[in-house]
């Protein structure tokens, strides 16, 4: 007999928001990169680099906020290596992205050697006063730290940017057809480089959220595959910002739920629970892509193709 009454759905939602924030941040950055027509598989490497840059600077400065800035900057710098190789030297994006992950994992471990076992300065939840005491909604909406809200703002901002601004239109045009965009006089390479660095910065923030808020400590390889999940979320979301939010929260939600089910003593085989986030993500994906109307494949047409101005 299962007694699952000890699982509190409100608390569950509040904790899935925290659990999903790193992949949400990384995924929204990668979405912009892919919208510009570039596939960067180095998200894991940029996240872990952000995790250590943010940690070092937060510890040294005592301020997590400065740490997060450093994380964004460090990971954006790393991503510019990718940008230089793929955009200027026209190297293969898939292979360069994988190399970036390898390099990032090594580099971060080297940088972090003196920072093992140290505690990071705390990032506290924002205080919303009475709002936090509203039943249900208070706990879900008004109990988090500022990065959770920033990640939500980034989703909204990205959506508005792509939908309403001219720059967003140009970015999408570059991703759909770089040759046409180039013919219209847009600086394809410059736009893509900016997109890549924005993606790097977001991934860095996601990594730093792990090392500064969620874990919070530095250990080698601590992202443990979160970057790959972020990549999966982007495809899952069919390159739409709000669906990135949905995908990340769904994935985070199932992960948190399966652990809660175990803690509550549910008699479901553990290995089944443990693989459930991946299986359910695949199933949802199949359902989405099976819908013919929506499946006018929303992937940017020039995704992953190298651009070389011939004229």
């Amino acid at each position: 007999m299962m007694d699952l009454s000890s699982i509190n759905p409100v608390v569950l939602v509040a904790s899935l928001m925290v659990a999903a924030t790193p992949i949400l941040l990384a995924a929204i950055g990668e979405l912009i990169v892919e919208k510009s027509g570039v596939l960067n598989l180095g998200v894991e490497g940029m996240m872990i680099t952000g995790a250590i840059c943010g940690f070092i600077i937060a510890v040294e400065s005592g301020s997590p906020v400065i740490g997060f800035f450093a994380a964004a900057l460090g990971a954006a710098l790393l991503s510019s290596i990718f940008g230089f190789l793929t955009l200027v030297l026209l190297s293969n994006q898939v292979a360069t992205g994988l190399a970036l992950t390898l390099f990032g994992l090594g580099l971060s471990a080297l940088m972090g050697q003196g920072y093992i076992g140290i505690k990071a300065p705390t990032t506290s939840p924002l205080n919303f006063g009475v709002l936090g005491d509203i039943p249900l909604i208070g706990r879900i909406l008004f109990s988090h730290d500022w990065m959770v809200y920033l990640s939500l703002a980034l989703i909204a901002g990205t959506w508005a940017f792509l939908k309403f601004t001219r720059a967003g239109l140009v970015l999408r045009a570059v991703g759909e057809s770089h040759d046409a965009a180039h013919a219209l006089g847009y600086k394809v390479i410059r736009i893509r480089l900016l997109a890549i660095m924005f993606g790097g910065a977001c991934a860095g923030l996601g990594g730093a959220y792990l090392s500064l808020v969620r874990v919070p400590q530095w250990t080698e390889g601590m992202t443990a595959g979160a970057g790959w999940i972020a990549l999966a979320i982007v495809v899952f979301a069919s390159w739409k910002p709000w669906r990135v939010l949905l995908g990340a929260y769904l994935f985070g939600g199932i992960t948190v739920l399966q652990l809660n089910l175990q803690a509550a003593g549910a008699t479901i085989p553990v290995e089944l629970l443990s693989m459930s986030p991946y299986i359910i993500t695949i199933l949802v994906l199949v359902i989405i892509s099976a819908d013919r109307r929506r499946a006018a494949l929303s992937a940017p047409a020039d995704l992953g193709k190298p651009f070389h101005a011939t004229s």
């Binding site: 190297s91 994992l105 994906l285």
Partner: protein, 361 residues
């Protein structure tokens, strides 16, 4: 003003010269990294690139190890390269590698302790089928529902890892192992073992399979209709359709071949060098093979060489770690740099660098 001008066809000279240039550049940049870490750069680079091949004390052992390490990488990369050429992105070879090993091991262990000579061949077939079946999931989903294969194959890696864990602590656990995780020893059971074929060479059935795969891929890509279809689909999808290429069949073929080869690699590994199913049996070969495939420029011979080069940096890196106390992270960063340079200088074989103002055409 520096700009690039596309060559009509890749430069022959640069195709051979760029890898050498990349290695030299990596030695320079890596040397700086090692010097920053307080190590003698020359000694470090000699240890990584030279000692595994020629050190009087180690090379006798480490030279054959190159094949052991490169074998699975080459086998998997060959399969992946065919799909990559057609624009079919199987990123989940790691999962197919695991499931191949699991299927092969399960098939063999079901007949334990028989000593029939048919067991090993049957396990090989089961391994290939296991990897193939795991790759068929993204293939069929893509054909039926247009589901993105990058995502599905990648997510299935995590599912496979969970299967592996539950096999090691549950359904494949050695009943005589006193509750410890891990299957019976497959390398220690004569009927299932994949031993070194010629003593002191590191050559086992997996390496043989790797070489056969290289030849097979070379023939298919250059002489067979399938190879022509693959190249056409990758370069001009629309033209391919007019030429009678059936995209669904191509997806099934490419994912099937790469899955089966990854499954084979897993099977040869679990019956040979690894020896048994264990929780941490997979060591990332499926991901490294993607890099190998691209380093080899998706060309079978190139993949053979790229696999050997990767293996060299792994083995040399290990030597450097304990001889010079270089941290593993430095080796990882060094490998990353090598890849950056290899990928970066490739531009020279496909483009000419022009300095000066653009001529008016």
């Amino acid at each position: 003003m520096i700009r690039l001008e596309k060559r009509p066809s890749p430069s022959k000279v640069w195709t051979y010269a760029t890898p050498v240039l990349a290695v030299v550049l990596t030695m320079l940049a890596g040397g700086i990294l090692f010097a920053i870490l307080g190590k003698d750069p020359l000694e470090a680079i000699r240890t990584i690139f030279w000692d595994p091949l020629f050190h009087p004390q180690f090379s006798g052992f480490s030279r054959p190890q190159l094949l052991v390490k490169a074998g699975p990488l080459i086998l998997i990369a060959i399969g992946l390269s065919m799909g990559f050429r057609a624009g079919i992105w199987n990123i989940g070879a790691e999962g197919q590698y695991i499931v191949g090993a699991l299927a092969g091991a399960a098939a063999g262990l079901a007949l334990y302790p028989s000593e029939s000579v048919l067991i090993f061949p049957m396990m090989v077939i089961a391994g290939a089928l296991g990897g193939w079946a795991w790759a068929m999931i993204p293939a069929i989903l893509k054909v039926q529902f247009r589901t993105n294969e990058i995502l599905v194959s990648l997510l299935l890696v995590y599912v496979a890892e969970n299967l592996l864990a539950s096999a090691s602590v549950g359904w494949l656990r050695n009943p005589e192992g006193g509750g410890f995780p891990g299957s019976r020893s497959l390398s220690g059971w004569d009927a299932s073992s994949n031993p070194e074929l010629i003593a002191g060479t590191g050559m086992h059935w997996g390496v043989v399979a790797g070489f056969i795969a290289v030849i097979f891929a070379y023939v298919v890509m250059s002489r067979h209709l399938l190879g022509y279809h693959i190249q056409l689909a990758g370069q001009a999808p629309r033209a391919a359709r007019f030429a009678g290429v059936n995209p669904s069949r191509l997806i099934i073929m490419c994912l099937g071949i790469s899955g089966a080869l990854a499954g084979l690699a897993g099977l040869f590994e679990v019956t040979g060098p690894a020896g048994q199913i264990s929780i941490d049996f997979n060591a990332g070969y499926g991901f490294t093979a993607i890099i190998v495939a691209f380093l080899g420029r998706l060309n079978p011979i190139g993949i053979l060489l790229a696999g050997m080069l990767m293996a060299l940096t792994y083995i040399g890196g290990e030597l450097a770690q304990f001889m010079l106390a270089l941290p593993a992270a430095a080796i990882q960063a060094f490998q990353g740099m090598l890849l950056f340079f290899l990928l970066g200088v490739d531009v020279l074989s496909n483009y000419r660098i022009r300095i000066g103002a653009r001529e008016t055409a």
